[in-house]
């Protein structure tokens, strides 16, 4: 660490879960304090149950240890001998002895329960986390902006491989030859959150095209790995070419692990993937998905790992750029159609989310630092830290970020865009080769400001308004368009209105492109959307003419014949599109006649236009629409996803046209013509999926057909028989591809054909009264599900579909509703997709049957399941399909549940940021922001009486609270939402005599602020890694760090005490016993050699007087003027080490 200021007296590091034995600074023992306010956000004795209170307390807790603000859980006092040396650049070395037992987060151990050695069991461990979570497995400055170079050593069992960041320098056996040590060096400055580790008995594959790239997978999967990775070099080439920059690290490693936290996570020079991305050459559907994941991972290597970010507010730049270049890759590999389809999909997603949930803000600025300046008051969580975000929001954030990058590209051109990226990269790579002293490393961090500056330098264009609109402001634009054609003036009168009042919307002012397809060709017009102008007159180029047969030129120069009989004789307009290039984040609801949509569908060559037309045509169930859709379906030049969309639209139209529909059921004859034998049209051809377009169509059509309904609202008999025949005659023997996805979709088709049973009330569903069709369906499902046990399909797609089908049968009352089947499939030990499908069914059952037992079962699984992804998934599924909501009364909603959920988010999920946010989300969905209605009134045992009570009674009336609840000292159950701030504060001071008086601002803090607010730069030359040499050793430990988090620190110098004018409380070494005993227990942990011997000596020194310290208070006083320091979070952390003896 280089010390940049005079009088550095404390060092703050991040650390969670770790048991820290001892800290030395430059060979001098250094006292330290370790406490983690996020362990328990609100105090357990608090009866507060409103989410507002929790959210602000949680934000305060996260802020209190935010490394970007210079905070941390671990505070090390620098021995006074080393203080005054700050003038010349002196180096402090910090040595930390620590161990990590049974980590709940940060590292994940997968140890299959089978016979054999650890290697034979394919036991492995890997690091994971959401955003900066490295502190879970070693003490560090867990910030993306603190760079340093790394030397990492891992001692593991000799049958294992340790894969980590940087170059593997050498592998050395230990003396007993049973273990080996992997030595890694990462010379490129890297932030701690970008460091990762994976250890397991991996099979190793050196990439045949790029020998510096190594792939790792679990035993037996090597053939899959070979196939799946055979494509990676092309992605490399692509990125290196567009960025005109070599891959920044000297090597790259991909590791495929089981029970992955997310599908893809990128770290410096390595990426960890889910093993479920691997596939063989027979699998069609997974191939593009896997390649996309690889491409994402690689894009993040450049932007995210190599180039890191200055602060959380700059995250959007990284996510934006990596998402954007990933999009370019998509365009190149999967084609422009796929790219535009993807952009539309992403745009629809973000628009839908923002309109529903409120805006997504890319670049949050917290000027005032006050709650009332909260830029996103509509959210039930704070966006100030990545760790307080809901996962859904974060996904949308990434989505919006890359869309905004695309908007910038639209403005300054792709060429400039790539130049900017190149500039960022080349600056960073120059900087990376410099020594730290040269002050160049900050070039490796991207900031919003720097990014915008380099855009304006490169392009010379001012994109300020664009940034202001989409980056510094949340929300999207909602347009409504309609038009009239004025024949006399030959003018198109276009009216574009905006809705900017409802939530998630904003006003747009500026240019908008409108494309008008006329008889004489296609014309682009740029209109200015201004404050008050709604109407825009657009002159038309062509006179309407009917009789002249002439080809009609399209946008792309193509000339086509059209049957113009459908159109309005007086108007030359074929169709109109608003913002065809999607250069605004918007939703457009445009009104034009049905024939115009049909022309647009048939003749517009842009897939986005075609998809828009398809969704618009749903509202026009006419024979003409039917014809247009059928034509598109048959056209094999048309993009397959458009054709898939047309299938579903056709089914909807057919249902609306039920009474007038003629001929066989929609799509049946088409399917017969395309996929059935010429000689016997009721038999499908043997599978041949060599043509992927028709493969996807063949999969989709039965699913869409099954949505058809007859007059009784049943699926027509011949459609059902048709699908059953498809299943019966399905023959994959001659196919070089697997048909598992196809068969799964046929089951989905059967599911789709189900309609609610005619229920005779209170009748128990039995086998005897099973409907004949349902019996056939059930027989197929039974057979499929049983066959799957004998010949499992890839990713068990068929089981997944069968489980969904069974749940639908139950829901429709054909078979008795019973969750036990799903519960058995949801158990740990099934393939993850199967588990998720089964859990989805249980969640659905819980909602429909209002079953407290199942809800409890689910929540137990959230707390106990080994797989983090499953825990997360359960909560998010419960959030999407909640058993009840705040709006309705439900027998499920009771005090015990509130307490349980509260406990879950308060302390039960401290090891996983994402899970905690999921729990918060669920709590919000179930109970809302205020105190849950099912709770009895809070015990107002305090002085606050009638006035208070009255206010509490109607919390829903005042959901938004004035003063932040953080004013309430943690364990006082004052419903702060209603207490006027001064009163609240006073009461608190009265009622709680904080043992330390921890709440009052002290004059001495000013002094302290000066040094601590300066950020110190840290360079960790050596991180002493605890080596998880033997995973078994970890597993068998049963020390729960989370239960006993505090490690005693000590206060050696009087000088330091003088700095703090707070009442100094002696701190007992109460943690010592626990510590030393655990130390002996954990003796087999391998500490770095030069720390080995000194533990015991150190313990003796702990009999110092410890003093309470107020590091957090001073900081937060400064940054957030609302008194975070008083927050329960920090309140607790203060208290725990300072109970007087």
């Amino acid at each position: 660490m280089f010390v940049w200021m005079v009088n550095l007296n404390r060092i703050k590091l991040n650390s969670k879960q770790c048991r820290i034995y001892r800290v030395r600074v430059n060979d001098l023992e250094a006292p330290f304090i370790y406490n983690d306010p996020t362990l328990e956000v609100c105090h357990h004795e608090s009866k507060q149950r409103n989410l507002n209170y929790f959210s602000s307390a949680y934000t305060a807790a996260v802020s209190a240890v935010d490394p970007d603000a210079g905070h941390g859980e671990l505070v090390i006092k620098v021995p006074s001998e080393l203080w005054k040396q700050g003038d010349e650049m002196n180096v402090l070395k910090v040595y930390i002895d620590f161990s990590l037992d049974q980590p709940k987060g940060g590292l994940h151990f997968v140890v299959p329960d089978v016979e054999g050695s650890m290697a034979e069991r394919a036991a492995h461990v890997f690091s994971f986390g959401y955003q900066n979570s490295t502190r879970f497995w070693f003490p560090c400055v867990d910030s993306y902006s603190e760079l340093c170079t790394w030397k990492l050593e891992f001692t593991v069992d000799s049958s294992m491989v340790a894969v980590s960041c940087g170059d593997l320098v050498e592998t050395v056996y230990t003396h007993d030859m049973r273990k080996k040590t992997f030595h890694y060096v990462l010379p490129i400055p890297t932030a701690a959150p970008n460091i990762s580790l994976a250890v397991g008995p991996f099979e190793i594959l050196v990439d045949p095209y790029m020998h510096e790239v190594t792939h790792f997978c679990l035993p037996q999967l090597l053939p899959l790995l070979k196939h799946s990775m055979s494509y990676l070099h092309e992605i490399f080439e692509f990125y290196e070419e567009i960025l005109t920059c070599r891959y920044p690290y000297s090597c790259f490693k991909t590791v495929f692990v089981d029970e992955a936290y997310v599908q893809v996570s990128s770290y410096a020079s390595m990426s960890i993937f889910s093993t479920n991305l691997l596939h063989s050459a027979m699998i069609i559907d997974q191939t593009p998905l896997t390649r996309q994941c690889l491409a994402q991972a690689l894009a993040q290597q450049f932007f995210g790992c190599f180039i890191s970010r200055m602060s959380w507010a700059d995250e959007w730049v990284l996510k934006g750029i990596s998402g954007y270049i990933y999009g370019l890759y998509l365009k190149k590999t999967f084609g422009v159609n796929q790219y535009r389809h993807w952009i539309k999909e992403e745009l629809d997603k973000i628009v839908e989310y923002e309109l529903k949930m409120g805006g997504v803000l890319l670049h949050p600025t917290f000027v005032g630092g006050k709650d009332k300046d909260n830029p996103t008051p509509h959210l039930h969580f704070s966006i100030k830290h990545p760790h307080t975000l809901s996962w859904e929001y974060y996904k949308m954030f990434q989505c919006k970020a890359h869309l905004v990058m695309r908007l910038i590209e639209n403005r300054i051109s792709m060429e400039f865009m790539l130049q900017v990226f190149n500039k960022l990269l080349s600056l960073a790579s120059t900087a990376s080769s410099q020594k730290y002293q040269s002050h160049m490393w900050s070039q490796m961090l991207v900031s919003t400001h720097g990014f915008l500056k380099s855009i304006s330098n490169v392009s010379g264009k001012d994109i300020g308004p664009l940034i202001k609109q989409w980056v510094e402001q949340s929300a999207v634009v909602k347009f409504f368009g309609s038009f009239a054609f004025n024949r006399k003036r030959n003018v198109l009168e276009l009216e574009i209105r905006q809705d900017y009042t409802s939530s998630g919307t904003q006003k747009y002012v500026g240019p908008i492109k409108v494309t008008v397809q006329e008889l004489d060709g296609s014309f682009n017009h740029t209109l200015q959307i201004e404050e008050n102008s709604l109407k825009h007159d657009i002159p038309c180029h062509s006179k309407s003419r009917r009789n002249k047969k002439k080809k009609i030129p399209l946008m792309n120069g193509e000339e086509v014949d059209m049957d113009l009989s459908a159109m309005d004789a007086d108007s030359p307009l074929l169709w109109i599109r608003i913002d065809p290039d999607m250069s605004i984040l918007r939703k457009v609801e445009f009104e034009q006649a049905d024939f115009m949509w049909q022309y647009q569908l048939r003749y517009e060559r842009d897939v986005v236009a075609q998809e828009e037309a398809i969704s618009a045509l749903e509202k026009f169930p006419t024979p003409a629409s039917r014809l247009a859709l059928t034509d598109i379906l048959e056209q094999d030049q048309c993009f397959y996803k458009v054709r898939q969309g047309a299938c579903f639209c056709l089914a909807k139209i057919a249902n609306s046209m039920m009474s007038t529909w003629t001929g066989p059921p929609a799509m049946k004859s088409l399917f017969t013509r395309m996929f059935c034998c010429k000689s016997c049209p009721n038999i499908v051809k043997t599978n041949n999926f060599i043509n992927f377009q028709s493969y996807f169509l063949q999969k989709t059509m039965p699913v869409a057909m099954a949505q058809l309904r007859d007059i009784q609202n049943l699926c027509p008999k011949d459609v059902l028989n048709f699908i059953l025949d498809l299943i019966k005659y399905n023959d994959n023997r001659k196919n070089k591809f697997s048909d598992n996805y196809y068969r799964a979709e046929l089951i989905d088709a059967l599911t789709n054909s189900l309609t609610p049973a005619i229920s005779i009330s209170n009748e128990v569903r039995t086998v005897d009264n099973l409907n004949g069709d349902v019996r056939l369906i059930l027989e197929e499902i039974t057979r499929f599900l049983n066959m799957e046990k004998l010949l499992p399909s890839y990713r068990n797609t068929i089981t997944v579909s069968c489980l969904r089908a069974i749940r639908t049968l139950q829901k429709n009352g054909h078979i008795p509703s019973d969750p036990s089947l799903f519960k058995s499939y949801a158990e740990y030990g099934h393939f993850v997709d199967v588990r998720v499908a089964a859990l989805e069914a249980v969640v659905d059952y819980t909602r429909v049957d209002r079953s407290p037992v199942e809800l409890q079962w689910l929540l137990n699984m959230v707390q106990n399941d080994p797989a983090h992804y499953i825990r997360h998934k359960i909560l998010s599924m419960l959030g999407k399909n909640p058993p009840f909501t705040k709006a309705v009364d439900s027998p499920l909603c009771n005090e015990a549940l509130v307490d349980q959920l509260w406990k879950l988010m308060n302390s039960g999920t401290s090891h996983d940021w994402r899970l905690r946010c999921d729990a918060v989300n669920l709590y919000y969905t179930l109970f809302g922001l205020t105190r849950p209605s099912c709770l009895p009134l809070p015990e107002l045992g305090l002085v606050l009486n009638l006035k208070e009570k009255k206010a509490v009674l109607n919390p829903t009336v005042k959901p938004e609270q004035g003063p932040g609840p953080a004013e309430v000292s943690g364990h006082v159950p004052i419903p702060s939402s209603v207490a006027p701030p001064p009163q609240g504060l006073k009461r608190k001071l009265d009622s709680v005599v904080g043992p330390l008086g921890s709440t009052s601002p002290e004059p001495g803090q000013v002094l302290q602020e000066e040094d601590s607010s300066k950020k110190f730069k840290i360079r960790e030359d050596e991180i002493d890694m605890e080596s998880p040499h033997d995973s078994q050793a970890f597993i068998h430990h049963h020390l729960n760090m989370l239960e006993r988090p505090s490690t005693p620190g000590k206060e050696p110098t009087a000088a330091d005490q003088a700095l703090l004018s707070l009442p100094a409380t002696p701190l007992p070494s109460f943690g010592k016993e626990a510590n030393s005993s655990s130390k002996h227990g954990g003796g087999e942990h391998h500490h770095h050699h030069h720390h080995h011997h000194e533990h015991k000596k150190k313990k003796k020194k702990h009999k110092h007087k410890h003093k309470h310290k107020h590091k957090h208070d001073s900081r937060e006083k400064e940054r957030d003027s609302h008194a975070c320091s008083n927050s329960p979070a920090s309140g607790r952390s203060m208290r725990s080490p300072s109970v007087s003896d």
Binding site: V172, H175, I204, L221, M282, Y794, D818
Partner: protein
């Protein structure tokens, strides 16, 4: 008298449908009727002898005895007749047989004409069981002129000369597909039912747990293996379609595993040696060039660490 051929046919029918419970085939009916007649015969003989009642087991035993006696007579008679190159037994064959079996033939006419003889109704007419047709492939040869016509016919040519036996292949596509589909479905259903019967099951219905038996879901310790790896069946098809990939797969298999476990010296050799003794060409030289830190041998610990 029982026709031995018929008897034999009857028995074999019994054997074939052995274990068949209530179901009665025509062959079985026929056989049962004969047996019932024999029982009546035994009973009447017993009455003649002055018994008033008999235990069922005794009657059954006697019936069995009489049946074997008659069968033996038939068998012997046939043997005698065939011995003299005939195919239909004559009276003399039977007489010789009876004598051979130690029966005084002369007493037979007297016994038959006894006064207290009871008349037994003829056995009920049942259709004789259909004898499965022998395989016929090609034309049977007629006797050449020097063989008298009463000699047995030539057996089917496939029994003594090479005969191309083919049936007109079913060329109807629909039928073939139909057949393949139903065959596969039957096999699958039978197999899954069997698995369901023999193992644990789960049921969708509470009232009838056997209605749609589902093989119980059993968690596996490494679930991703079965979910990701192609099944052997699929691998076979893959092999058929494409064998080039397989070659690739085998040759690098020895790289990682050995590096991990074995001692470093052996490893070094392994990674340098071209796999499988294939003549080292481009590939081998490539392999040699690969310098990947994960393929390097593990170093021995340095002694200096011990101070």
């Amino acid at each position: 008298m029982a026709d031995p051929a018929v008897m034999a046919g009857g028995f074999s029918a019994v054997v074939r449908s052995g274990g068949g419970k209530a179901t009665s085939s025509p062959a079985e009916n026929y056989q049962l009727a004969r047996r019932r007649t024999l029982q009546v015969v035994v009973s009447s003989l017993l009455t003649e002898c002055g018994f008033e009642s008999a235990e069922k087991a005794a009657v059954e035993t006697l019936t069995e005895m009489i049946q074997s006696y008659i069968s033996e007579v038939g068998r012997c008679a046939k043997a005698y007749c065939e011995h003299t190159a005939r195919i239909t037994p004559t009276l003399s064959d039977t007489v010789v047989t009876l004598i051979e079996m130690g029966f005084n033939v002369d007493t037979l006419p007297v016994y038959a004409k006894r006064s207290q003889r009871m008349v037994i109704t003829a056995p009920p007419v049942t259709n004789a069981p259909v004898i499965p047709k022998a395989l016929i492939a090609g034309q049977k040869r007629t006797h050449p002129s020097h063989i008298p016509s009463h000699f047995p016919e030539f057996p089917d040519p496939h029994t003594y000369i090479k005969t191309p036996t083919f049936r007109e292949p079913v060329s109807d596509y629909q039928v073939v597909r139909e057949k393949a589909a139903s065959q596969r479905r039957d096999v699958e259903r039978a197999l899954t039912r069997f698995m369901a019967k023999t193992g644990e099951t789960q049921s969708l219905f509470k009232d009838d747990v056997t209605a749609f038996p589902l093989i119980a879901a059993r968690p596996s310790s490494i679930p991703y293996l079965s979910a990701l790896l192609p099944s052997e069946l699929e691998l076979q098809t893959l092999e058929e379609t494409d064998s080039s990939e397989q070659d690739d797969q085998t040759d690098s298999e020895n790289m990682p595993g050995n590096n991990l476990n074995d001692d470093p010296g052996a490893d070094k050799e392994n990674s340098v040696l071209p796999p499988g003794g294939v003549v080292p060409s481009v590939k081998a030289s490539e392999e040699n060039m690969i310098d990947n830190p994960y393929l390097r041998p593990v170093k021995k610990p340095k002694v200096r660490r011990k101070k």
